[in-house]
C-alpha cells in the first residue's frame, strides 16, 4: 500500500514537472495556431522556424557566444582551479568563497553592474560584451568542477611525472590534465548550457545586432506566442536533455571502475 502511494507521489511530481514541456512539444506539431484545439499533425512550424531569419540569426549568435565563452571559461577556470589548489590554506578558502559570489549573486545585479561597467569603459554593447559577461558567470562553474578532481588526485602524481623525466609542462599535459579531464568536460558542458540558457545577464549586455535566442524568444512572445516558438523550445529542450545525459553518462563511466576496485578488496 505504502509502495503504491510512493509511486503515485513520484508520478505526480513528474507530471507537474514535465507536463508543461510535453504540452509544448505536442503543440509544436499542432496544425492549428490555437493552443487549445488539436486539428492535425504537422511539421510546418519547424519548417517556418528554419526559414525565420531573425530566429536563425539569434540562434547563430547564441551558439557562437556559447562556444567562445565556454572555451575561454574552461581554460581560465582550469588554470584558476590549479592556482587555487596550490594556494596556502587561508588564501585558498578566501578565494573559493570569492569564486562563489558570481553564482550566488542575483543575475539582475550581475547584469546591471556589468552593463554599467561596459558603459563606463566606453565599450559598445555587442558580441564582445556578451562574451565577457558569459565568461564571468561560467568560470566559477568550471572551477567548482575541476577543484574536486584535483583534490581527489594523489598529490604524488605530479612528482612521479617529474621523477620519470617530465618537465613541469609535460607533467601537466601528460598526467594532470588526463586526471582532471572529467571535471574539465563537465565544466565545459555546464558553461555551454548556462550560456545558451542565460536571459537576464544577456538582456543587459547585448547590443542591437547581437541578440541571443532567449532574448529573441522573449520579444516574440511579447506580442503573441507563435507556434514557431513552441517548435524552437522543443528543440532546445531535446538538446539540453541530450547534453545532460552525456554529462551523467560521463560521470557514471568514471565512477564504475572505482567501485569494482573497492569490491575486489
Amino acid at each position: 500500500m505504502k509502495k503504491i502511494a510512493n509511486k503515485l507521489y513520484i508520478a505526480l511530481v513528474f507530471i507537474f514537472l514535465y507536463a508543461p514541456i510535453f504540452v509544448l512539444i505536442a503543440n509544436s506539431f499542432n496544425e492549428s495556431k490555437s493552443r487549445t484545439v488539436w486539428t492535425g499533425f504537422t511539421f510546418d512550424w519547424y519548417v517556418k522556424l528554419f526559414n525565420n531569419e531573425v530566429i536563425l540569426k539569434s540562434l547563430g549568435n547564441t551558439l557562437i557566444i556559447a562556444a567562445v565563452a565556454a572555451t575561454i571559461s574552461t581554460i581560465l577556470g582550469t588554470a584558476a582551479a590549479i592556482g587555487i589548489y596550490n594556494m596556502k590554506k587561508i588564501t585558498r578558502s578566501l578565494v573559493i568563497n570569492i569564486t562563489y559570489i558570481p553564482i550566488m549573486n542575483s543575475e539582475m545585479v550581475t547584469g546591471v553592474s556589468l552593463m554599467l561597467l561596459f558603459v563606463a569603459l566606453h565599450i559598445d554593447l555587442g558580441y564582445l560584451t556578451l562574451i565577457i559577461a558569459h565568461i564571468t558567470f561560467c568560470v566559477p562553474y568550471v572551477i567548482l568542477n575541476v577543484l574536486p578532481k584535483l583534490r581527489q588526485m594523489n598529490r604524488n602524481l605530479y612528482d612521479a611525472a617529474l621523477d620519470l623525466g617530465c618537465n613541469p609542462w609535460q607533467a601537466f599535459r601528460h598526467v594532470i590534465i588526463p586526471e582532471i579531464m572529467p571535471g574539465i568536460v563537465t565544466g565545459f558542458l555546464m558553461s555551454i548550457t548556462y550560456s545558451i540558457d542565460d536571459f537576464v545577464i544577456s538582456y543587459f549586455t547585448h547590443g542591437s545586432t547581437s541578440q541571443t535566442l532567449p532574448i529573441t524568444i522573449y520579444s516574440m512572445t511579447r506580442r503573441k506566442v507563435s507556434p514557431e516558438v513552441n517548435a524552437l523550445s522543443a528543440i532546445i529542450f531535446v538538446v539540453v536533455l541530450v547534453v545532460l545525459l552525456i554529462m551523467n553518462f560521463n560521470d557514471l563511466r568514471r565512477t564504475k571502475p572505482k567501485k569494482k576496485k573497492e569490491a575486489a578488496r
Binding site: 594523489n154 604524488n156 602524481l157 612528482d159 612521479a160 611525472a161 617529474l162 621523477d163 620519470l164 623525466g165 617530465c166 618537465n167 609535460q170 601528460h174 598526467v175 588526463p178 586526471e179 579531464m181 571502475p257 572505482k258 569494482k260 576496485k261 575486489a264
Partner: protein, 370 residues
C-alpha cells in the same frame, strides 16, 4: 668505501610553516649501497628523501651528486627514480603505459620500449599484465609496477618511501627478500625509508636512525643493534629496558638499588646515565638475597617466547623467556656485565615506549574491573 661516494648531504636544514623539520642532516651514500632511513613517523624521513629526489629544495645546506652541487637541479634532470608512498601510478594509463612512461619521454623507439617493458614486467613477476588497468591490481601488484616503472629508466639510485607499508605481513616478508635481490642484481644504490626496525635490519647495508629531524646513528645493522649510541636508538631498534643509573666509576654502575659490574667506561664520576638492557638478555632465577628480586605482574605468550613484566625496585622490567613464571610470584633477575649497556643520558624524555604501552594496558585492566 669512501672513493665511490655518490650522494652527499651536507648540513641540510628544512623548515615548514616555521617548524624545523630537518636540523642539520649530514649523510654520505655510496655506490651500490642499500641505505635505510629509519625513524618514527614525522621524524623527517620522507622530507630527506624528497630533497635527494629534488622535489623540495633545502632551506640550508647542500646536496652533492658525484661531487657536483645539485641543489637547483630539478627532479627530471637527476639520475634517480622514486617509488612513492602509495605508489602514485598513473590511473589513466594501463600497466604497459605506466612502465613505458619514462622511455616514451626519452623518445626511445617502440620496439625497444616493448622489449624493455617486457623485461621489467618479468623482473617484477608480472608478465602478461600489460593491458590491465592499474586500479584492477592488488596492492602488492601495484607496488611491483611502481618499482618497474622506476627501474626501467636505469637510475643510479632508487628512492623508496615505505614501499611495503600498505602490504600485509606475509607479502611484506616476501617483498623484502625480492627487493634485496633486485638491488643486488641491478647493482644500484637503494635509499629506503621505513619506520619498521625489523625491515631496516634485514635489508640494509647501512641504517640511518633518525629522530625529530636529526640523525641519531649511522651504521651497519649489527652496529646499530649491538652498539646503539643512545637510549633512543636502543629502544627504537629493539624492545629495551631503559633504567636511570649512576656511573660510580669505570665499569661500575648503580641502578635498581644495586651496584652492577659493566664493561663501559669513560664517564664522569657519579654521572647520571641511561642503562639499557635488552629483554632477551635477562635471565630469571629463583629469588634469593644474592640477586635483584621482583614481582611478576603479567605474562603474555608471544609465539617464540613469553613476555614477562616484572616490577623490581621502582622499575618496570620487560623480560623475554621461554619459561613462564606465575603471575604474582617473586623472581630473581641476573645480568652479566656484557648485557648492561651504559649510555649518555639523552635529553629527551619518554624513550621507553615499551613501558608506556604496559602502563596503558594496566589502566585498561583497572577500568575493566570497575
Amino acid at each position: 668505501m669512501d672513493k665511490n661516494k655518490i650522494i652527499e648531504l651536507k648540513n641540510i636544514e628544512m623548515e615548514f610553516d616555521g617548524e624545523r623539520v630537518l636540523k642539520g642532516i649530514n649523510l654520505d651514500i655510496h655506490d651500490k649501497e642499500f641505505v635505510t632511513l629509519l625513524g618514527p613517523s614525522g621524524c623527517g624521513k620522507t622530507t630527506t628523501l624528497r630533497i635527494v629526489g629534488g622535489f623540495v629544495t633545502p632551506d640550508k645546506g647542500d646536496v652533492f651528486f658525484g661531487g657536483k652541487r645539485v641543489n637547483d637541479v630539478p627532479p627530471y634532470k637527476r639520475p634517480v627514480n622514486t617509488v612513492f608512498q602509495k605508489y602514485a601510478l598513473f590511473p589513466h594509463l594501463n600497466v604497459y603505459e605506466n612502465v613505458a612512461f619514462g622511455l616514451r619521454l626519452k623518445k626511445v623507439s617502440e620496439p625497444e620500449i616493448a622489449r624493455r617493458v617486457g623485461e621489467m614486467l618479468e623482473l617484477v613477476d608480472l608478465k602478461g599484465y600489460d593491458k590491465r588497468g592499474v586500479n584492477q591490481l592488488s596492492g602488492g601488484q601495484q607496488q611491483r609496477i611502481a618499482i618497474a616503472r622506476a627501474l626501467i629508466n636505469n637510475p643510479k639510485v632508487l628512492l623508496l618511501d615505505e614501499p611495503l607499508g600498505a602490504l600485509d605481513l606475509k607479502l611484506r616478508k616476501e617483498m623484502q627478500i625480492e627487493l634485496k635481490k633486485i638491488q643486488q642484481r641491478m647493482e644500484i644504490t637503494f635509499i629506503y625509508v621505513t619506520h619498521d626496525q625489523e625491515e631496516a635490519l634485514t635489508m640494509s647495508d647501512t641504517v640511518v636512525v633518525m629522530k625529530d629531524g636529526t640523525i641519531q646513528q649511522i651504521g651497519t645493522p649489527q652496529d646499530i643493534y649491538n652498539e646503539p649510541t643512545n637510549a633512543f636508538v636502543a629502544d627504537f631498534i629493539g624492545e629495551s629496558n631503559i633504567l636511570p643509573g649512576i656511573m660510580h666509576r669505570d665499569r661500575l654502575v648503580e641502578f635498581a638499588g644495586n651496584n652492577f659490574e659493566c664493561v663501559d667506561g669513560g664517564f664522569d664520576p657519579m654521572e647520571p646515565v641511561d642503562v639499557v638492557i635488552r629483554p632477551e638478555d635477562i635471565k630469571l632465577v629463583p629469588a634469593s638475597d644474592e640477586v635483584l628480586n621482583g614481582v611478576v605482574e603479567n605474562v603474555q605468550f608471544k609465539g617464540v617466547h613469553y613476555e614477562i613484566i616484572v616490577k623490581a625496585y621502582s622499575d618496570t622490567w620487560v623480560i623475554h623467556s621461554t619459561k613462564a613464571p606465575e603471575v604474582g610470584s617473586v623472581v630473581g633477575i641476573t645480568l652479566t656485565p656484557e648485557d648492561i649497556h651504559i649510555m649518555k643520558k639523552s635529553d629527551v624524555k619518554k624513550v621507553n615506549y615499551f613501558k608506556s604501552d604496559y602502563d596503558d594496558a594496566e589502566g585498561s585492566d583497572i577500568e575493566q574491573q570497575i
